[in-house]
């Protein structure tokens, strides 16, 4: 058993990473080929940075991810607070089940259903809505919301409710108690919900594919359009860059986490 696991774990992980590593290597290939390596070159990276659509798509992706994750966190945090305080079990379950729909449904169904709604909304004459940034913000906020609630609601549930009551007894208004007692207690959940929403938004392709317009491209949509027909070696460069950024972020988060833990350990 032990020997088997020594072989099996590395084998699967190598297979999992091999394609990505090979593509990163060949993004530096001067030949522009997947079959032979001619020499080291950065020309595909240069081509990528000269492509204005790519840079614009990156900008769109980032602004969309920031706006939609903030919006989802704002709505979701208040919602989690409200759901936690609800007395009717029926109401609670109903809201939670509806909230989970975008998470359980295949992305393509969420995408086309929202597209149908927006098609109808656009045809209403006095509604100033059109496919593009606005529809994308709505869609991305919608699919991020269940994840925000999933990370924030348990924090409210685990909270000691007597703390709030103590605050109220000591003269806080309910609003003040919320901001001074309850909100600080759920901050870790809010942060993880925000980060989750941000990464989901950056990564989403399927839903965006249906609710965006050609003049509002995000990075995944740009990759899709670029890879639709022929092989583009600048896409390999983009892949390599994105993997690098993800690695960097992961290390940063881990490093910040261990730093925070270190501080706490010192205090104790």
């Amino acid at each position: 058993m032990k020997v088997l696991s020594r072989i099996y774990i590395p084998l699967i992980f190598i297979l999992l990473y091999l394609p990505i590593i090979i593509v990163i290597l060949f993004s530096f290939n001067d030949a522009g080929s997947m079959s032979h390596f001619d020499g080291f070159s950065l020309k595909w990276y240069a081509e990528l940075f000269e492509d204005e659509t790519a840079l614009k798509a990156l900008g769109n992706s980032l602004s969309l991810a920031v706006i939609s994750s903030l919006l989802a966190t704002l709505i979701g945090t208040f919602a989690a607070f409200g759901i936690n305080k609800m007395r009717s079990r029926w109401l609670k379950t109903t809201i939670r089940s509806v909230t989970n729909v975008p998470m359980m449904n295949p992305d393509i169904v969420t995408g086309v259903s929202m597209m149908l709604l927006f098609v109808a909304a656009v045809s209403i004459p006095f509604l100033p809505i059109k496919f593009g940034q606005v529809t994308m913000i709505i869609a991305h906020t919608t699919f991020s919301l269940p994840y925000v609630i999933l990370s924030v609601l348990p924090r409210f549930q685990q909270m000691d409710k007597y703390q709030t009551e103590a605050a109220l007894d000591l003269g806080c208004t309910p609003a003040k108690a919320f901001f001074k007692v309850e909100l600080p207690a759920v901050i870790p959940g809010i942060v993880s919900g925000l980060m989750l929403g941000f990464t989901l938004s950056l990564d989403d392709f399927v839903i965006s594919h249906f609710v965006s317009s050609p003049d509002f491209q995000t990075l995944p949509l740009y990759i899709y359009n670029q890879t639709a027909h022929d092989v583009k070696y600048s896409m390999y460069a983009l892949c390599a860059l994105m993997v690098f950024v993800i690695l960097l972020l992961l290390f940063a988060v881990n490093f910040a986490g261990s730093l925070g833990r270190g501080k706490k350990a010192k205090k104790a």
């Binding site: 295949p106 259903s113 392709f205 594919h209």
Partner: protein, 276 residues
């Protein structure tokens, strides 16, 4: 009991309104388009016409089932071995497992295609050792391989989460009572990790059955899966209705199969591994 304050009563209202407008209402539109013709009149034509798409449904279900089974067969041992490693090693392996999940599916699929393509590295390697080139892209195997490669981490992670929560003393008790390694795997680990398995199966099956990028890239456009069909029908306003009908049927199929599977695992929702 004190009266509910204003903020408590209304905190969830924006969310409820949002969910109504952007989750429930869109689904109402899907149902509406399913039961109307292109002229906007009520009809059952879209549902009756679905029989023309039966082979697409069967092919997609078949591909998704094979991919899910392979993921389970490859993923379960991986999750099991991972859960038996030292805690420090486990932590590193979990990060390694989650890393591909953060890399865009488009990138992972495209990388795989770049390697397996006719002029790609794999065929060049085959040729250099004296074997003739093989067509991989454009075969059913390539599509299934793409699904397994893309979604394997989604199978392993929930199973690993279930297994890592298992108290080591269960295994000790099993071995004290005369189970060998294999027997304790089948009589202890597998039954107790069933909720994770169910969650893993759902997380692989749902994206597999609804994908269109994988079949476009690795199927070489030769295979029409449900996802491809929906995507195509929604490019043209006159076929929105049939597209909506296909989406609705797929959604109902998935809801039924998930409900049936959840019956099999009696664990409650919080015990199932969820990636956060």
């Amino acid at each position: 009991m004190k009266k509910k304050s204003f903020i408590e009563g209304f905190a969830a209202v924006p969310h409820v309104v949002w969910m109504f407008l952007f989750v429930l209402l869109p689904l109402v539109f899907v149902v509406y388009f399913t039961f109307t013709g292109a002229d906007g009149k009520f009809s059952f034509d879209n549902i009756t016409n679905l029989s023309r798409y039966l082979h697409i449904f069967l092919l997609s279900i078949c591909f998704a089932l094979i991919a899910t089974t392979l993921c389970l067969l490859i993923g379960y041992p991986l999750a099991y071995f991972m859960s038996r490693m030292k805690p420090k090693t486990q932590k590193i392996l979990v990060v390694l497992l989650m890393l591909p999940m953060w890399i865009s599916l488009l990138i992972r699929t495209y990388s795989l295609m770049a390697i397996l393509d006719n002029g790609g590295l794999f065929n060049t390697l085959l040729e250099s050792i004296g074997i003739t080139r093989v067509h991989i892209v454009g075969t059913p195997g390539a599509v299934i391989l793409g699904m397994v490669y893309d979604f394997l981490p989604y199978m392993v992670l929930p199973i690993y989460t279930s297994l890592s929560k298992l108290d080591n003393r269960y295994y000790e008790a099993a071995s004290d009572l005369g189970c060998n390694g294999a027997k304790s795997l089948f009589r202890v680990a597998i039954p107790l990790s069933l909720p994770g398995v169910v969650s893993g199966i759902t997380m692989v099956f749902v994206p597999s059955i609804s994908t269109f990028y994988i079949s476009q890239k690795l199927g070489g456009g030769l295979f029409d899966l449900i996802g491809d069909t929906i995507e195509r029908e929604f490019q043209n306003k006159s076929t929105y209705n049939i597209g909506a009908a296909i989406s609705l049927v797929m959604m109902v199929l998935i809801i039924i199969s998930v409900a049936v599977m959840n019956r099999f695992s009696e664990g409650d929702e919080n015990e199932r591994g969820i990636i956060v």
